[in-house]
Symmetry: C2
Subunit: 300 residues, 2 copies
Protein backbone atom coordinates (compact mmCIF):
# COMPACT_ATOMS: atom_id res chain seq x y z
CA UNK A 1 0.00 0.00 0.00
CA UNK A 2 1.19 3.52 -0.79
CA UNK A 3 0.73 6.69 1.28
CA UNK A 4 -1.88 8.08 -1.09
CA UNK A 5 -4.14 5.04 -0.58
CA UNK A 6 -3.75 5.16 3.18
CA UNK A 7 -4.53 8.89 3.29
CA UNK A 8 -3.01 11.60 5.43
CA UNK A 9 -5.38 11.35 8.39
CA UNK A 10 -5.16 7.55 8.60
CA UNK A 11 -1.40 7.95 8.37
CA UNK A 12 -1.39 10.31 11.37
CA UNK A 13 -3.48 7.80 13.35
CA UNK A 14 -1.03 5.06 12.42
CA UNK A 15 1.97 7.08 13.61
CA UNK A 16 0.12 7.96 16.77
CA UNK A 17 -0.46 4.27 17.53
CA UNK A 18 3.26 3.56 17.01
CA UNK A 19 4.19 6.18 19.57
CA UNK A 20 4.05 5.99 23.34
CA UNK A 21 4.80 8.95 25.56
CA UNK A 22 5.73 9.72 29.14
CA UNK A 23 3.80 11.44 31.91
CA UNK A 24 5.33 14.78 30.87
CA UNK A 25 3.02 14.78 27.85
CA UNK A 26 -0.51 16.13 28.40
CA UNK A 27 -1.47 15.80 24.73
CA UNK A 28 0.72 14.21 22.04
CA UNK A 29 0.06 13.70 18.33
CA UNK A 30 -3.37 14.78 17.11
CA UNK A 31 -4.06 18.41 18.02
CA UNK A 32 -2.87 21.76 16.64
CA UNK A 33 0.12 21.61 18.99
CA UNK A 34 1.50 19.16 21.53
CA UNK A 35 0.94 19.98 25.20
CA UNK A 36 3.74 19.34 27.71
CA UNK A 37 4.00 19.89 31.43
CA UNK A 38 5.31 23.39 32.03
CA UNK A 39 6.32 25.64 34.89
CA UNK A 40 4.28 28.04 37.04
CA UNK A 41 0.73 26.76 36.40
CA UNK A 42 1.26 26.73 32.66
CA UNK A 43 1.59 24.15 29.96
CA UNK A 44 4.24 24.26 27.24
CA UNK A 45 2.95 24.06 23.64
CA UNK A 46 5.09 22.68 20.81
CA UNK A 47 4.23 22.67 17.10
CA UNK A 48 6.02 22.08 13.80
CA UNK A 49 4.99 23.09 10.26
CA UNK A 50 6.76 22.24 7.03
CA UNK A 51 6.14 24.35 3.92
CA UNK A 52 7.30 23.04 0.56
CA UNK A 53 7.68 25.02 -2.65
CA UNK A 54 5.03 24.05 -5.19
CA UNK A 55 2.65 22.84 -2.47
CA UNK A 56 2.34 25.69 0.01
CA UNK A 57 3.77 28.50 -2.10
CA UNK A 58 5.23 29.30 -5.47
CA UNK A 59 8.61 30.95 -5.75
CA UNK A 60 7.10 33.98 -7.46
CA UNK A 61 5.28 34.83 -4.23
CA UNK A 62 8.62 36.32 -3.15
CA UNK A 63 10.69 35.57 -0.06
CA UNK A 64 8.88 38.00 2.24
CA UNK A 65 5.42 36.43 1.96
CA UNK A 66 6.88 32.91 2.09
CA UNK A 67 8.67 33.70 5.35
CA UNK A 68 5.61 35.47 6.74
CA UNK A 69 3.34 32.53 5.95
CA UNK A 70 5.64 29.93 7.44
CA UNK A 71 5.76 31.50 10.90
CA UNK A 72 2.15 32.74 10.81
CA UNK A 73 0.90 29.18 10.22
CA UNK A 74 2.65 28.03 13.40
CA UNK A 75 1.33 31.01 15.39
CA UNK A 76 -2.15 30.01 14.20
CA UNK A 77 -1.60 26.53 15.72
CA UNK A 78 -0.61 28.01 19.07
CA UNK A 79 -3.60 30.37 18.97
CA UNK A 80 -5.92 27.42 18.37
CA UNK A 81 -4.72 25.88 21.66
CA UNK A 82 -5.58 29.08 23.54
CA UNK A 83 -1.93 29.95 24.11
CA UNK A 84 0.69 32.48 23.08
CA UNK A 85 3.95 31.87 21.17
CA UNK A 86 7.49 31.96 22.58
CA UNK A 87 10.67 30.84 20.75
CA UNK A 88 11.05 29.24 17.32
CA UNK A 89 13.71 27.44 15.31
CA UNK A 90 13.63 27.56 11.51
CA UNK A 91 15.14 25.01 9.13
CA UNK A 92 15.63 26.22 5.59
CA UNK A 93 16.29 24.07 2.55
CA UNK A 94 17.29 26.15 -0.48
CA UNK A 95 19.05 25.74 -3.83
CA UNK A 96 22.68 26.97 -3.72
CA UNK A 97 21.85 29.02 -6.83
CA UNK A 98 19.15 31.00 -5.02
CA UNK A 99 19.69 34.75 -4.82
CA UNK A 100 20.73 35.85 -1.33
CA UNK A 101 18.20 38.71 -1.59
CA UNK A 102 15.43 36.15 -1.89
CA UNK A 103 16.57 34.45 1.31
CA UNK A 104 16.92 37.82 3.04
CA UNK A 105 13.29 38.34 2.08
CA UNK A 106 12.29 35.08 3.76
CA UNK A 107 13.98 36.18 6.99
CA UNK A 108 12.44 39.65 6.77
CA UNK A 109 9.03 37.97 6.51
CA UNK A 110 9.86 35.78 9.49
CA UNK A 111 11.05 38.81 11.41
CA UNK A 112 7.91 40.82 10.69
CA UNK A 113 5.82 38.08 12.29
CA UNK A 114 8.25 37.40 15.13
CA UNK A 115 8.31 41.10 16.07
CA UNK A 116 4.55 41.46 15.95
CA UNK A 117 4.00 38.51 18.29
CA UNK A 118 7.20 38.86 20.36
CA UNK A 119 8.60 35.54 19.18
CA UNK A 120 12.33 34.80 19.54
CA UNK A 121 13.93 33.22 16.46
CA UNK A 122 16.70 31.32 18.24
CA UNK A 123 18.19 28.86 15.78
CA UNK A 124 17.66 26.36 13.03
CA UNK A 125 19.39 24.58 10.22
CA UNK A 126 20.35 25.29 6.62
CA UNK A 127 20.61 22.63 3.94
CA UNK A 128 20.91 22.56 0.19
CA UNK A 129 17.80 21.30 -1.60
CA UNK A 130 16.31 21.61 -5.05
CA UNK A 131 13.02 23.04 -3.81
CA UNK A 132 12.69 25.72 -1.15
CA UNK A 133 11.57 24.09 2.10
CA UNK A 134 10.89 25.88 5.37
CA UNK A 135 10.21 24.14 8.66
CA UNK A 136 9.18 26.23 11.65
CA UNK A 137 9.08 24.63 15.10
CA UNK A 138 7.44 26.95 17.61
CA UNK A 139 7.09 26.80 21.37
CA UNK A 140 4.23 28.42 23.22
CA UNK A 141 2.62 28.59 26.61
CA UNK A 142 -0.91 28.46 27.93
CA UNK A 143 -2.46 28.77 31.39
CA UNK A 144 -3.82 25.37 32.44
CA UNK A 145 -7.38 26.73 32.57
CA UNK A 146 -7.15 28.20 29.10
CA UNK A 147 -5.92 25.12 27.25
CA UNK A 148 -8.42 24.38 24.48
CA UNK A 149 -8.29 21.05 22.65
CA UNK A 150 -10.16 19.65 19.67
CA UNK A 151 -11.81 17.00 21.76
CA UNK A 152 -13.91 19.05 24.18
CA UNK A 153 -17.01 19.91 22.12
CA UNK A 154 -20.27 19.30 24.06
CA UNK A 155 -23.73 18.50 22.72
CA UNK A 156 -25.62 21.75 22.23
CA UNK A 157 -22.50 23.90 21.86
CA UNK A 158 -22.77 26.77 19.41
CA UNK A 159 -20.19 26.60 16.59
CA UNK A 160 -18.44 29.82 15.59
CA UNK A 161 -15.92 30.73 12.93
CA UNK A 162 -13.84 33.90 12.65
CA UNK A 163 -13.30 35.92 9.46
CA UNK A 164 -14.37 34.53 6.10
CA UNK A 165 -13.83 31.15 4.52
CA UNK A 166 -12.64 30.19 1.03
CA UNK A 167 -10.71 31.80 -1.78
CA UNK A 168 -7.40 31.63 0.08
CA UNK A 169 -5.61 30.69 -3.14
CA UNK A 170 -6.29 34.22 -4.39
CA UNK A 171 -3.65 35.40 -1.95
CA UNK A 172 -4.78 35.24 1.67
CA UNK A 173 -3.08 31.84 2.19
CA UNK A 174 0.23 33.75 1.97
CA UNK A 175 -0.74 36.97 3.68
CA UNK A 176 -2.95 36.46 6.71
CA UNK A 177 -3.03 37.44 10.36
CA UNK A 178 -3.20 34.48 12.70
CA UNK A 179 -6.11 35.00 15.11
CA UNK A 180 -3.95 35.16 18.21
CA UNK A 181 -5.54 38.17 19.92
CA UNK A 182 -9.01 36.85 19.16
CA UNK A 183 -8.17 33.42 20.60
CA UNK A 184 -6.60 34.89 23.74
CA UNK A 185 -9.62 37.11 24.32
CA UNK A 186 -11.92 34.12 23.83
CA UNK A 187 -10.18 31.80 26.28
CA UNK A 188 -9.74 34.58 28.83
CA UNK A 189 -13.43 35.54 28.83
CA UNK A 190 -15.38 32.44 27.83
CA UNK A 191 -15.47 28.73 28.43
CA UNK A 192 -14.41 27.60 24.96
CA UNK A 193 -14.99 23.83 24.80
CA UNK A 194 -13.09 23.09 21.59
CA UNK A 195 -11.06 24.99 19.01
CA UNK A 196 -9.02 24.35 15.84
CA UNK A 197 -7.58 26.53 13.09
CA UNK A 198 -8.79 26.08 9.53
CA UNK A 199 -5.86 24.69 7.58
CA UNK A 200 -7.34 21.63 5.84
CA UNK A 201 -10.70 23.33 5.17
CA UNK A 202 -13.72 24.24 7.30
CA UNK A 203 -15.46 20.88 6.88
CA UNK A 204 -12.31 18.82 7.45
CA UNK A 205 -11.24 20.83 10.48
CA UNK A 206 -14.71 20.84 12.02
CA UNK A 207 -14.57 17.10 11.27
CA UNK A 208 -11.41 16.86 13.41
CA UNK A 209 -13.32 18.46 16.30
CA UNK A 210 -16.24 16.06 15.81
CA UNK A 211 -14.00 13.01 15.66
CA UNK A 212 -11.93 14.00 18.69
CA UNK A 213 -15.08 14.89 20.66
CA UNK A 214 -17.23 11.95 19.50
CA UNK A 215 -19.95 14.38 18.44
CA UNK A 216 -21.88 15.44 15.35
CA UNK A 217 -22.81 18.88 14.04
CA UNK A 218 -25.49 20.77 12.14
CA UNK A 219 -24.25 23.61 9.93
CA UNK A 220 -26.36 26.33 8.31
CA UNK A 221 -25.00 27.16 4.85
CA UNK A 222 -26.56 30.65 5.01
CA UNK A 223 -24.53 31.45 8.11
CA UNK A 224 -21.14 30.34 6.77
CA UNK A 225 -19.14 33.47 5.95
CA UNK A 226 -18.03 32.57 2.42
CA UNK A 227 -15.35 34.90 1.05
CA UNK A 228 -16.15 36.91 -2.07
CA UNK A 229 -13.03 35.38 -3.55
CA UNK A 230 -14.29 31.81 -3.21
CA UNK A 231 -15.57 30.03 -6.32
CA UNK A 232 -18.59 28.61 -4.51
CA UNK A 233 -19.72 27.23 -1.16
CA UNK A 234 -18.27 23.76 -1.76
CA UNK A 235 -14.80 24.97 -2.63
CA UNK A 236 -14.90 27.53 0.19
CA UNK A 237 -15.43 24.88 2.84
CA UNK A 238 -12.90 22.39 1.44
CA UNK A 239 -9.97 24.35 -0.09
CA UNK A 240 -8.26 25.07 3.23
CA UNK A 241 -5.51 27.44 4.40
CA UNK A 242 -8.00 30.00 5.69
CA UNK A 243 -6.20 30.14 9.04
CA UNK A 244 -9.39 31.22 10.77
CA UNK A 245 -10.54 29.75 14.09
CA UNK A 246 -13.43 27.33 14.45
CA UNK A 247 -14.57 26.89 18.03
CA UNK A 248 -17.50 25.77 20.11
CA UNK A 249 -18.91 27.04 23.38
CA UNK A 250 -22.08 26.51 25.44
CA UNK A 251 -25.24 27.78 23.72
CA UNK A 252 -26.05 29.95 26.75
CA UNK A 253 -22.82 31.95 26.23
CA UNK A 254 -23.30 32.51 22.50
CA UNK A 255 -25.29 35.74 22.81
CA UNK A 256 -22.88 37.23 25.34
CA UNK A 257 -19.99 36.43 22.99
CA UNK A 258 -21.69 38.09 20.02
CA UNK A 259 -22.39 41.20 22.05
CA UNK A 260 -18.88 41.34 23.50
CA UNK A 261 -17.01 40.82 20.20
CA UNK A 262 -14.86 43.92 19.60
CA UNK A 263 -12.49 42.75 16.85
CA UNK A 264 -12.41 43.91 13.23
CA UNK A 265 -12.42 40.24 12.28
CA UNK A 266 -15.98 39.01 11.72
CA UNK A 267 -17.52 36.40 13.95
CA UNK A 268 -20.15 34.01 12.57
CA UNK A 269 -22.31 31.50 14.39
CA UNK A 270 -22.59 28.73 11.86
CA UNK A 271 -24.29 25.84 13.65
CA UNK A 272 -24.40 23.62 16.70
CA UNK A 273 -22.92 20.42 18.05
CA UNK A 274 -25.18 17.36 18.14
CA UNK A 275 -24.97 14.11 20.05
CA UNK A 276 -24.84 12.05 16.85
CA UNK A 277 -21.27 10.75 16.68
CA UNK A 278 -19.36 12.19 13.74
CA UNK A 279 -22.49 12.99 11.72
CA UNK A 280 -22.20 16.27 9.85
CA UNK A 281 -25.43 17.74 8.50
CA UNK A 282 -25.67 20.86 6.37
CA UNK A 283 -28.92 22.79 6.06
CA UNK A 284 -28.66 24.42 2.64
CA UNK A 285 -30.12 27.78 1.66
CA UNK A 286 -33.43 26.19 0.61
CA UNK A 287 -33.72 24.59 4.06
CA UNK A 288 -32.95 21.08 2.82
CA UNK A 289 -30.87 18.75 5.00
CA UNK A 290 -27.77 17.06 3.56
CA UNK A 291 -25.67 14.54 5.39
CA UNK A 292 -22.08 14.97 4.27
CA UNK A 293 -18.62 13.62 4.91
CA UNK A 294 -16.12 16.03 6.44
CA UNK A 295 -13.57 16.48 3.69
CA UNK A 296 -10.87 18.91 2.73
CA UNK A 297 -7.32 19.22 1.57
CA UNK A 298 -5.25 16.09 2.06
CA UNK A 299 -1.56 15.96 1.31
CA UNK A 300 -1.87 12.31 0.33
Amino acid sequence: MILKDLGEFNFIKRISALTSVSKCVIKGIGDDAAVLKGAGGRYTLFTSDMLVEGRHFKRNAGGYLIGKKSLSASVSDIAAMGGWPGACVVSLGAPPSLDVKFVDGIYKGLRAVSRKYKIDLVGGDTVASEKIIINVALLGEVEKDNLTLRGGAKTGDAIFVTGSIGGSLAGSHLDFSPRLEEARSLVNNFKVNSMIDVSDGLLADLGHILEASGKGAVLYEKNVPVSKKAKDFNSAVTDGEDFELVFTLPEKDAGRLERAWRFKTNLSRIGCISAKGRELIIIDKSGAKKKIKPRGYKHF
Copy 2:
Protein backbone atom coordinates in the same frame (compact mmCIF):
# COMPACT_ATOMS: atom_id res chain seq x y z
CA MET B 1 24.94 37.24 -5.20
CA ILE B 2 23.75 33.65 -4.82
CA LEU B 3 23.80 31.50 -1.66
CA LYS B 4 26.70 29.40 -2.92
CA ASP B 5 28.94 32.47 -3.23
CA LEU B 6 27.98 33.75 0.20
CA GLY B 7 28.64 30.36 1.80
CA GLU B 8 26.72 28.59 4.53
CA PHE B 9 28.62 30.00 7.50
CA ASN B 10 28.45 33.59 6.25
CA PHE B 11 24.79 33.02 5.62
CA ILE B 12 24.25 31.95 9.23
CA LYS B 13 26.08 35.08 10.44
CA ARG B 14 23.87 37.19 8.19
CA ILE B 15 20.67 35.66 9.57
CA SER B 16 21.98 36.08 13.07
CA ALA B 17 22.56 39.80 12.47
CA LEU B 18 18.98 40.16 11.16
CA THR B 19 17.58 38.64 14.34
CA SER B 20 17.13 40.22 17.75
CA VAL B 21 15.98 38.27 20.75
CA SER B 22 14.47 38.87 24.18
CA LYS B 23 15.89 38.36 27.66
CA CYS B 24 14.46 34.83 27.71
CA VAL B 25 17.22 33.78 25.29
CA ILE B 26 20.55 32.85 26.84
CA LYS B 27 22.10 31.80 23.50
CA GLY B 28 20.40 32.21 20.13
CA ILE B 29 21.63 31.32 16.64
CA GLY B 30 25.19 29.98 16.47
CA ASP B 31 25.60 26.95 18.74
CA ASP B 32 24.54 23.31 18.55
CA ALA B 33 21.24 24.23 20.17
CA ALA B 34 19.57 27.40 21.37
CA VAL B 35 19.52 28.03 25.13
CA LEU B 36 16.40 29.48 26.76
CA LYS B 37 15.53 30.34 30.34
CA GLY B 38 14.05 27.27 31.98
CA ALA B 39 12.55 26.20 35.27
CA GLY B 40 14.15 24.83 38.45
CA GLY B 41 17.77 25.88 37.95
CA ARG B 42 17.86 24.52 34.41
CA TYR B 43 18.01 25.91 30.93
CA THR B 44 15.81 24.71 28.07
CA LEU B 45 17.65 23.61 24.90
CA PHE B 46 16.01 23.77 21.46
CA THR B 47 17.44 22.45 18.20
CA SER B 48 16.20 21.70 14.68
CA ASP B 49 17.75 19.47 11.98
CA MET B 50 16.51 19.01 8.44
CA LEU B 51 17.55 15.92 6.48
CA VAL B 52 16.94 15.86 2.74
CA GLU B 53 17.01 12.81 0.47
CA GLY B 54 20.05 12.83 -1.80
CA ARG B 55 22.02 15.04 0.62
CA HIS B 56 21.85 13.31 3.98
CA PHE B 57 20.68 9.89 2.88
CA LYS B 58 19.71 7.86 -0.15
CA ARG B 59 16.38 6.13 -0.28
CA ASN B 60 18.04 2.71 -0.51
CA ALA B 61 19.32 3.19 3.05
CA GLY B 62 15.82 2.11 4.08
CA GLY B 63 13.32 3.89 6.30
CA TYR B 64 14.66 2.56 9.58
CA LEU B 65 18.17 4.01 9.28
CA ILE B 66 16.83 7.27 7.87
CA GLY B 67 14.53 7.68 10.88
CA LYS B 68 17.30 6.67 13.27
CA LYS B 69 19.75 9.16 11.80
CA SER B 70 17.31 12.06 11.84
CA LEU B 71 16.61 11.89 15.57
CA SER B 72 20.15 10.81 16.52
CA ALA B 73 21.59 13.92 14.84
CA SER B 74 19.41 16.13 17.06
CA VAL B 75 20.31 14.15 20.18
CA SER B 76 23.97 14.74 19.28
CA ASP B 77 23.29 18.50 19.27
CA ILE B 78 21.73 18.35 22.75
CA ALA B 79 24.66 16.21 24.00
CA ALA B 80 27.14 18.80 22.69
CA MET B 81 25.48 21.41 24.97
CA GLY B 82 25.94 19.16 28.00
CA GLY B 83 22.21 18.44 28.30
CA TRP B 84 19.71 15.66 27.86
CA PRO B 85 16.81 15.42 25.39
CA GLY B 86 13.09 15.75 26.17
CA ALA B 87 10.28 16.01 23.61
CA CYS B 88 10.48 16.21 19.82
CA VAL B 89 8.22 17.06 16.89
CA VAL B 90 8.86 15.54 13.47
CA SER B 91 7.83 16.96 10.11
CA LEU B 92 7.85 14.52 7.22
CA GLY B 93 7.75 15.36 3.54
CA ALA B 94 7.15 12.28 1.39
CA PRO B 95 5.92 11.37 -2.10
CA PRO B 96 2.29 10.16 -2.10
CA SER B 97 3.52 7.13 -4.06
CA LEU B 98 5.87 6.04 -1.25
CA ASP B 99 5.17 2.62 0.25
CA VAL B 100 3.58 2.86 3.69
CA LYS B 101 6.04 0.21 4.91
CA PHE B 102 8.91 2.54 4.11
CA VAL B 103 7.33 5.27 6.23
CA ASP B 104 6.62 2.78 9.02
CA GLY B 105 10.35 2.05 8.89
CA ILE B 106 11.17 5.73 9.37
CA TYR B 107 8.96 5.86 12.48
CA LYS B 108 10.41 2.60 13.80
CA GLY B 109 13.87 4.15 13.47
CA LEU B 110 12.67 7.28 15.25
CA ARG B 111 11.09 5.15 17.95
CA ALA B 112 14.24 3.09 18.52
CA VAL B 113 16.14 6.29 19.29
CA SER B 114 13.32 7.91 21.26
CA ARG B 115 13.01 4.84 23.49
CA LYS B 116 16.73 4.57 24.09
CA TYR B 117 17.00 8.18 25.22
CA LYS B 118 13.51 8.52 26.75
CA ILE B 119 12.41 11.13 24.22
CA ASP B 120 8.69 11.84 23.71
CA LEU B 121 7.63 12.13 20.07
CA VAL B 122 4.68 14.46 20.55
CA GLY B 123 3.68 15.78 17.17
CA GLY B 124 4.72 17.09 13.80
CA ASP B 125 3.49 17.65 10.30
CA THR B 126 3.06 15.62 7.12
CA VAL B 127 3.30 17.08 3.64
CA ALA B 128 3.57 15.75 0.11
CA SER B 129 6.96 16.35 -1.51
CA GLU B 130 8.96 14.85 -4.33
CA LYS B 131 11.97 14.06 -2.15
CA ILE B 132 11.80 12.57 1.33
CA ILE B 133 12.47 15.32 3.87
CA ILE B 134 12.57 14.91 7.64
CA ASN B 135 12.79 17.74 10.11
CA VAL B 136 13.29 16.95 13.78
CA ALA B 137 12.90 19.72 16.35
CA LEU B 138 14.07 18.55 19.77
CA LEU B 139 13.83 20.11 23.21
CA GLY B 140 16.35 19.37 25.95
CA GLU B 141 17.38 20.52 29.38
CA VAL B 142 20.68 21.23 31.06
CA GLU B 143 21.64 22.29 34.59
CA LYS B 144 22.92 25.87 34.49
CA ASP B 145 26.38 24.77 35.67
CA ASN B 146 26.65 22.10 33.00
CA LEU B 147 25.81 24.24 29.97
CA THR B 148 28.74 23.97 27.54
CA LEU B 149 28.99 26.38 24.63
CA ARG B 150 31.33 26.61 21.66
CA GLY B 151 32.74 29.91 22.84
CA GLY B 152 34.37 28.94 26.14
CA ALA B 153 37.74 27.49 25.04
CA LYS B 154 40.67 28.85 27.10
CA THR B 155 44.31 29.22 26.11
CA GLY B 156 46.16 26.09 27.16
CA ASP B 157 43.06 23.85 27.13
CA ALA B 158 43.63 20.28 26.00
CA ILE B 159 41.53 19.32 22.96
CA PHE B 160 39.84 15.91 22.97
CA VAL B 161 37.74 14.00 20.48
CA THR B 162 35.62 10.89 21.10
CA GLY B 163 35.55 7.81 18.85
CA SER B 164 37.16 7.89 15.43
CA ILE B 165 36.95 10.42 12.63
CA GLY B 166 36.36 9.97 8.91
CA GLY B 167 34.85 7.36 6.62
CA SER B 168 31.30 8.12 7.76
CA LEU B 169 30.03 7.76 4.19
CA ALA B 170 30.81 4.02 4.47
CA GLY B 171 27.76 3.78 6.71
CA SER B 172 28.33 5.30 10.14
CA HIS B 173 26.69 8.60 9.10
CA LEU B 174 23.41 6.65 9.09
CA ASP B 175 23.98 4.31 12.00
CA PHE B 176 25.72 5.97 14.93
CA SER B 177 25.21 6.43 18.64
CA PRO B 178 25.10 10.06 19.72
CA ARG B 179 27.59 10.56 22.56
CA LEU B 180 24.98 11.49 25.13
CA GLU B 181 26.18 9.39 28.07
CA GLU B 182 29.77 10.43 27.42
CA ALA B 183 28.83 14.11 27.31
CA ARG B 184 26.74 13.89 30.49
CA SER B 185 29.56 12.14 32.32
CA LEU B 186 32.00 14.79 31.11
CA VAL B 187 29.97 17.80 32.21
CA ASN B 188 29.06 16.16 35.52
CA ASN B 189 32.67 15.39 36.44
CA PHE B 190 34.86 17.95 34.67
CA LYS B 191 34.97 21.60 33.87
CA VAL B 192 34.49 21.34 30.11
CA ASN B 193 35.21 24.77 28.64
CA SER B 194 33.84 24.22 25.13
CA MET B 195 32.18 21.44 23.17
CA ILE B 196 30.67 20.78 19.72
CA ASP B 197 29.61 17.71 17.80
CA VAL B 198 31.36 16.83 14.56
CA SER B 199 28.81 17.32 11.81
CA ASP B 200 30.63 19.55 9.29
CA GLY B 201 34.00 17.82 9.82
CA LEU B 202 36.63 17.86 12.58
CA LEU B 203 38.50 20.89 11.21
CA ALA B 204 35.38 22.90 10.48
CA ASP B 205 33.79 22.14 13.84
CA LEU B 206 36.98 22.81 15.79
CA GLY B 207 37.07 25.99 13.69
CA HIS B 208 33.62 26.92 15.05
CA ILE B 209 35.01 26.56 18.59
CA LEU B 210 38.04 28.71 17.72
CA GLU B 211 35.95 31.40 16.09
CA ALA B 212 33.41 31.54 18.92
CA SER B 213 36.20 31.53 21.54
CA GLY B 214 38.58 33.91 19.72
CA LYS B 215 41.36 31.34 20.07
CA GLY B 216 43.73 29.26 17.94
CA ALA B 217 44.73 25.61 18.15
CA VAL B 218 47.60 23.23 17.54
CA LEU B 219 46.61 19.73 16.39
CA TYR B 220 48.86 16.67 16.23
CA GLU B 221 48.05 14.57 13.18
CA LYS B 222 49.46 11.44 14.84
CA ASN B 223 46.96 11.77 17.68
CA VAL B 224 43.85 12.22 15.51
CA PRO B 225 41.89 8.94 15.62
CA VAL B 226 41.38 8.43 11.88
CA SER B 227 38.87 5.68 11.08
CA LYS B 228 40.11 2.68 9.07
CA LYS B 229 37.27 3.46 6.69
CA ALA B 230 38.59 6.93 5.88
CA LYS B 231 40.37 7.48 2.56
CA ASP B 232 43.13 9.55 4.15
CA PHE B 233 43.74 12.12 6.88
CA ASN B 234 42.53 15.05 4.81
CA SER B 235 39.20 13.51 3.93
CA ALA B 236 38.79 12.19 7.49
CA VAL B 237 38.99 15.67 9.00
CA THR B 238 36.79 17.37 6.41
CA ASP B 239 34.08 14.89 5.30
CA GLY B 240 31.86 15.40 8.34
CA GLU B 241 28.87 13.57 9.85
CA ASP B 242 31.06 11.73 12.38
CA PHE B 243 28.74 12.82 15.22
CA GLU B 244 31.60 12.55 17.69
CA LEU B 245 32.27 15.18 20.35
CA VAL B 246 35.15 17.65 20.22
CA PHE B 247 35.73 19.42 23.52
CA THR B 248 38.34 21.31 25.47
CA LEU B 249 39.18 21.41 29.15
CA PRO B 250 42.02 22.77 31.31
CA GLU B 251 45.35 21.02 30.70
CA LYS B 252 45.63 20.17 34.40
CA ASP B 253 42.47 18.01 34.19
CA ALA B 254 43.50 16.13 31.05
CA GLY B 255 45.31 13.30 32.85
CA ARG B 256 42.48 12.77 35.34
CA LEU B 257 40.02 12.57 32.45
CA GLU B 258 42.10 9.99 30.61
CA ARG B 259 42.40 7.84 33.73
CA ALA B 260 38.70 8.16 34.58
CA TRP B 261 37.38 7.38 31.08
CA ARG B 262 35.26 4.20 31.35
CA PHE B 263 33.40 4.22 28.04
CA LYS B 264 33.83 1.79 25.15
CA THR B 265 34.08 4.84 22.89
CA ASN B 266 37.73 5.86 22.48
CA LEU B 267 38.97 9.16 23.80
CA SER B 268 41.86 10.94 22.05
CA ARG B 269 43.77 14.01 23.11
CA ILE B 270 44.54 15.65 19.80
CA GLY B 271 46.04 19.05 20.62
CA CYS B 272 45.72 22.24 22.60
CA ILE B 273 44.15 25.68 22.42
CA SER B 274 46.47 28.60 21.70
CA ALA B 275 46.08 32.34 22.22
CA LYS B 276 46.48 33.05 18.49
CA GLY B 277 43.03 34.08 17.33
CA ARG B 278 41.55 31.60 14.85
CA GLU B 279 44.95 30.22 13.79
CA LEU B 280 44.83 26.47 13.25
CA ILE B 281 48.19 24.68 13.07
CA ILE B 282 48.65 21.00 12.32
CA ILE B 283 51.85 19.20 13.26
CA ASP B 284 52.08 16.41 10.69
CA LYS B 285 53.56 12.97 11.26
CA SER B 286 57.03 14.15 10.23
CA GLY B 287 56.86 16.93 12.84
CA ALA B 288 56.39 19.70 10.27
CA LYS B 289 54.05 22.63 11.07
CA LYS B 290 51.29 23.56 8.64
CA LYS B 291 49.01 26.53 9.06
CA ILE B 292 45.61 25.60 7.66
CA LYS B 293 42.13 26.98 7.19
CA PRO B 294 39.36 25.24 9.10
CA ARG B 295 37.27 23.70 6.36
CA GLY B 296 34.68 21.00 5.96
CA TYR B 297 31.33 20.20 4.48
CA LYS B 298 29.31 23.22 3.44
CA HIS B 299 25.79 22.96 2.14
CA PHE B 300 26.36 25.99 -0.04
